[in-house]
């Protein structure tokens, strides 16, 4: 049986990891750890759930969104800063597990567990987020897109832990979607997932388009080909189909009990299509509304003359 140690300061945790890193398994929400025991050499379960420095959601010195590693998924979903400036992250967090899991599982845990199917990863990659890693020797930042080297594998050294996630704020009108295909409607791991984030420009156009996929490759996968197709172009069902094709072409999925490679490949395209079709519908509705307002204003103007 592993031993269990609970520490309340980040400094002490860093110290312990410096000394014992390879034998430690970090415990925060425990939603991964308690259902699948860590490798046997991890004999010390180090509880970090009471480290205040790892908690909270707010703005950092550079004006970026800081989500502490201990923030649970539901906290992220409900936070006003996330709703305003990182809606995509909220959408992804809302699709995780069940309310009970979202209330326990932490964002830091979802990142550190490094499952290829983790739902927050495609969203964070789209948002250009970085992870702040802390060690006794000092801190460093790594973009989420460069954090992973394989399933369950990260660039974290044994003496490092995830302190927080930093997300550049999105300003202006955003279009975002997160879609996942699971084995059922709730309490499920993704068979495949797609996230998209972009700014909206007049004429049904998207710019700064970012697309990323989960569960279709050993690590989270950005899809530059789809981004390039969509960037600055007028959205149309045809363009959407082409972007979906680009996702299908980029996917490198595997067969497992949860799904088949063939389905995963097909469904990432379908998920992006559905997300973009819904975005297109919303943009069209907004344009019609704006057009109606303009017309009404013109009519009023004529009346005054």
């Amino acid at each position: 049986m592993p031993s269990f140690l609970s520490l309340t300061s980040l400094e002490d945790v860093a110290e312990m990891l410096w000394a014992e890193g390879p034998t430690c398994a970090l415990v925060a929400g425990g939603t991964d750890l308690l259902v699948r025991a860590p490798r046997p050499e991890r004999t010390l379960w180090l509880d970090i759930s009471r480290c205040a420095e790892l908690a909270g959601i707010g703005l950092d010195a550079q004006g970026r969104l800081r989500v502490g590693a201990l923030a649970c998924h539901q906290e992220v979903v409900e936070h006003p800063l996330v709703r305003r400036h990182a809606r995509l992250l909220g959408l992804a967090c809302a699709s995780v597990g069940s309310l009970q899991i979202r209330n326990r599982g932490t964002l830091g845990g979802n990142l550190g567990n490094a499952s290829p199917a983790a739902d927050t990863l495609p969203a964070l990659v789209c948002l250009g987020a970085s992870v702040r890693l802390v060690a006794r020797q000092g801190a460093r930042e790594v973009p989420v897109s460069e954090l992973y080297t394989g399933p369950g594998q990260t660039v974290l050294r044994p003496d490092e832990l995830i302190e927080s996630v930093r997300v550049p704020l999105r300003r202006g009108r955003a279009a975002a979607c997160f879609k996942k295909a699971g084995q059922r409607k709730g309490m499920c791991c993704s068979k495949a997932s797609v996230a998209l984030d972009a700014r909206v420009r007049p004429g049904l156009r998207l710019v700064d388009v970012r697309v990323a996929m989960g569960a279709v490759a050993p690590t989270v996968l950005g899809v530059p080909a789809a981004e390039a197709l969509l960037e600055g172009q007028r959205l149309s069902p045809r363009l959407i189909a082409q972007a979906a094709e680009a996702c299908v072409a980029a996917a490198r999925p595997i067969d497992d009990l949860r799904s088949s490679a063939g389905y995963r490949r097909a469904v990432v395209g379908a998920l992006l299509s559905e997300g973009l079709l819904e975005i297109l519908e919303r943009l069209r509705r907004a344009e019609r509304r704006a057009e109606g307002l303009r017309r009404a204003r013109r009519a009023r103007g004529r009346g005054r003359r």
Partner: protein
């Protein structure tokens, strides 16, 4: 006209509601006798192997371990099984599936017991697993049991199917591939054992029939029956999966060997590996009908994978055969069935009990035929629906109330079916942009289900009824309560019959030491059987009260009835008298035994039944054709259970049945690779959650009174589930034009089928139509 009912059919609160909601109710896994030992079972990691040796020395040296038992320590017959005792309590020579028990460890703590189990060294010689039932049936296959691999086979013919197909305008032929299904009860198999105050070796656990548990325990331990007591009252779910022995004999054995109380709770992985399942079955159907929609011929073949041991594999196969043609009249029938031993786990009883597999087959065929002759699927079913006096598929007369047509008519009048055209087009909740990619469809299925054990097996139910001087009643019946609400149903029936308020009724169940043998808690039989027995008991009670009144109060002879009130009274030929005065301090006890009536014909192997329940389901599905995701949006259940006893319980059963039927249709499958189970917990064995079950479930009671039933009631605990699955399959064809024949239908299969259906895809119809 019948007297208006006071209690039955109402939204009665369950007797155990408060205890269950507050957590006060004690389940088998909650029990913890003083000074108990924890048990852990050593199970085979191999699907098939010879046991060369078992070395317990290291396990016995683990601190806290008190005793390790192996096959040598089983004092009686080292075998169990409901029908045939072919499964060792502890395997000494050979293991036949992953999960077979080899040793049991008793220790002072759970941790020590598990450490001890891990330290038991078993020397196995792995053998080639037998995994393909068709191949296992051939004489050249390695035999898993002395009699070969065919546990049971059944063959019936009526008329001449060849002639039936010649007369048919349409003949449809399909093969269905149905998976093994796990019961997935909330509470895994669990229990405790101890010596009771009378020195009886007592097992308080989770069985569905305590008297049979008692027999099986006594046989394995070599003890006389009266030295063994089996308890199993409140259990955390069963669905047939706790009908067979699970933890009982291991518990009894270790208390017998150590003299101390013991406790055993299976882990979920153990439970899934070890317990019985629904039979994976390959089903082949060929059916024909006339141009005007008369069902003319049904030919079918079932090959059911019964896994490593017999359990109830034979009877399950028999029910497939009996229900081969569903609730329909058909002149020509030929059916063959085989239950085959393999090393793929272990199959046995499961809600539906073989009807499930037959129902998926025949109801899919009915839809295909209706489609081929362009007839409305409900009209087609109604035209062929069995009536009392008709001859059933296996050529015996339907003698009792037949609700087939009534449930079909009820479905025709139901909201979902009447509004079907609008329902199919109603995509208001789908984002407009996705509407072109979303398809809706409605499907129906009708079903009958034999009630009770059929002919040939003793099917009796004894109860004891006690009336106290204060007017409180105690009913003692040995059946179990595993969530279905049976005990509340008993109390409601007593309250209706005796003029005793429900809160004054106490049910003592599931205990061979306290309650007489009321038979199994299975086969949709409990409400019917216990209801009839308690009615007999009530009549006896009134006769006894009359006799006492005659003796003590000098009343003229004749029965006396109970009258409720603050001071309960008896009323009879001599007027009224206070109950307390009549009884004095001594409660009055009567007993009664009801024998479930059986058919006059006997086809062998327990066939056929005399009594059947009926149901017709309408299911509405929505399919996202881009992702292949299926959503069941609405289900309407038209269930003939005769008189409804508990309205809320009736609906609760139905809604649970819908959830399980959805699981069988779209989600669940126990999967094996060369006999090794791949789906050993709920992360890989995926069950539907509340989000996958529609909120729009409507349950419509169709009251076709069964003359022999208590107030005309019969059971619905299986009909409420079985028809749901084929109704969904039929709805999928309505939505997509694709016939799915392999369960579960997951998104992967939908996308594959749609790709094949697209221009250039593979054409799949095997429907022969004359003159076309």
């Amino acid at each position: 006209m019948a007297r208006a009912l006071k209690v039955l059919g109402k939204r009665t609160r369950r007797l155990d509601a408060e205890a269950k909601v507050t957590g006060a109710l004690v389940y088998p896994s909650d029990k913890a006798p003083d000074d108990m030992l924890w048990l852990a079972v050593v199970r085979s990691p191999h699907p098939h192997a010879r046991v060369l040796g078992v070395d317990c020395a290291a396990a016995e040296a683990v601190p806290g371990v008190v005793r390790v038992a192996t096959a040598r320590d089983v004092p009686g017959e080292n075998a169990f099984g409901i029908a045939i005792q072919d499964q060792p309590v502890l395997c000494g020579e050979r293991v036949r599936y992953q999960g077979d028990a080899v040793a049991v460890v008793a220790a002072e703590s759970l941790r020590a017991a598990r450490a001890g189990a891990a330290a038991v060294r078993v020397d196995y010689e792995p053998l080639e697993p037998v995994v393909e039932p068709e191949a296992a049936m051939r004489p050249d296959s390695p035999a898993l049991h002395p009699g070969g691999n065919i546990l049971h086979q059944g063959h019936f013919t009526k008329g001449d199917v060849a002639e039936g197909f010649r007369q048919s305008h349409v003949v449809v032929e399909r093969e269905y591939d149905l998976p093994m299904m796990e019961h997935a009860y909330l509470e895994t198999e669990a229990g405790v054992s101890f010596y009771d105050e009378l020195g009886r070796l007592t097992v308080d656990s989770c069985g569905q029939y305590v008297y049979r548990d008692q027999t099986q325990i006594a046989r394995a331990l070599g003890l006389p029956l009266e030295r063994v007591r089996a308890i199993g009252a409140h259990v955390g779910g069963a669905f047939g999966g706790k009908d067979e022995i699970t933890v009982q004999i291991h518990l009894a054995l270790m208390t017998h060997l150590t003299g101390r109380p013991c406790k055993l709770v299976l882990t979920r992985e153990e439970s899934i590996l070890f317990s019985t399942k629904r039979h994976a079955t390959r089903v082949r159907y060929k059916t024909g009908c006339s141009r005007d929609g008369r069902l003319l011929a049904v030919e079918a073949r079932f090959v059911a994978d019964t896994g490593a041991y017999a359990s109830l594999g034979g009877p399950v196969l028999n029910l497939m055969l009996e229900h081969v043609a569903g609730p329909y009249r058909v002149p020509h029938v030929k059916v063959d069935g085989f239950a085959v031993y393999t090393n793929n786990g272990f199959a046995g009883a499961f809600r539906g009990f073989g009807c499930t597999q037959a129902c998926v087959g025949i109801e899919s065929q009915m839809d295909l035929m209706a489609r081929a002759i362009r007839m409305d699927p409900l009209a087609f079913r109604l035209k062929n629906a069995l009536q009392t006096g008709d001859r059933a598929a296996l050529d015996y007369e339907m003698k009792t109330a037949v609700g087939a047509a009534a449930t079909i008519r009820s479905a025709q009048k139901g909201k979902l079916w009447r509004g079907r055209a609008a329902w199919r087009k109603d995509l208001r909740k789908v984002p407009a942009a996705l509407r072109p990619h979303v398809k809706r469809g409605l499907g129906v299925a009708s079903q009958m289900q034999g009630m009770g054990l059929g002919i040939g097996l003793p099917d009796y139910c004894e109860v004891a009824l006690e009336l106290g001087p204060a007017g409180d009643c105690t009913l003692r019946a040995s059946t179990s309560e595993f969530g279905q609400g049976a005990y509340t149903a008993y109390a409601a029936m007593l309250a209706e019959r005796l003029d005793v308020p429900m809160e004054r009724v106490r049910i003592v169940g599931g205990d061979t030491g306290l309650a007489p043998d009321s038979g199994t808690t299975t086969a949709s039989r409990t409400t019917y059987a216990v209801g009839n027995a308690l009615l007999m008991a009530c009549e006896r009670l009134e006769a006894e009260l009359g006799r006492l009144a005659a003796e003590r109060l000098g009343w003229p002879a004749g029965p006396a009835r109970l009258r409720a009130g603050r001071e309960p009274r008896v009323q009879g030929a001599g007027g009224q008298a206070a109950l307390a005065g009549l009884l004095g301090q001594t409660p009055l006890e009567v007993r009664a035994t009801y024998h479930i009536p059986v058919a006059e014909v006997e086809l062998g192997d327990g066939l056929p039944h005399l009594l059947y329940s009926y149901g017709t389901h309408v299911a509405g599905v929505e399919v996202d054709t881009l992702t292949g995701e299926i959503t069941v949006q609405a289900v309407e259940a038209h269930l003939d259970g005769g008189q409804v006893i508990l309205r809320t319980g009736f609906e609760g059963q139905s809604e649970g049945g819908v959830a399980q039927g959805i699981g069988y249709a779209l989600f669940e499958a126990v999967e094996f690779e060369r006999g090794r189970c791949l789906t050993t917990n709920f992360n890989t064995y995926v069950l539907p959650t509340s989000l996958d079950v529609p909120t729009a479930i409507r349950t419509v009671p169709v009251v076709v009174r069964e003359p022999t039933g208590p107030w005309g009631a019969k059971g619905i605990s299986e009909t409420c589930m079985v028809g749901v699955t084929p109704a969904i399959l039929n709805a999928l064809e309505d939505a997509l034009g694709v016939r799915f024949t392999r369960l579960p239908v997951r998104a992967e299969a939908v996308l594959r089928a749609l790709a094949e259906q697209a221009p250039g895809g593979r054409a799949g119809a095997r429907t022969r139509r004359k003159g076309s």
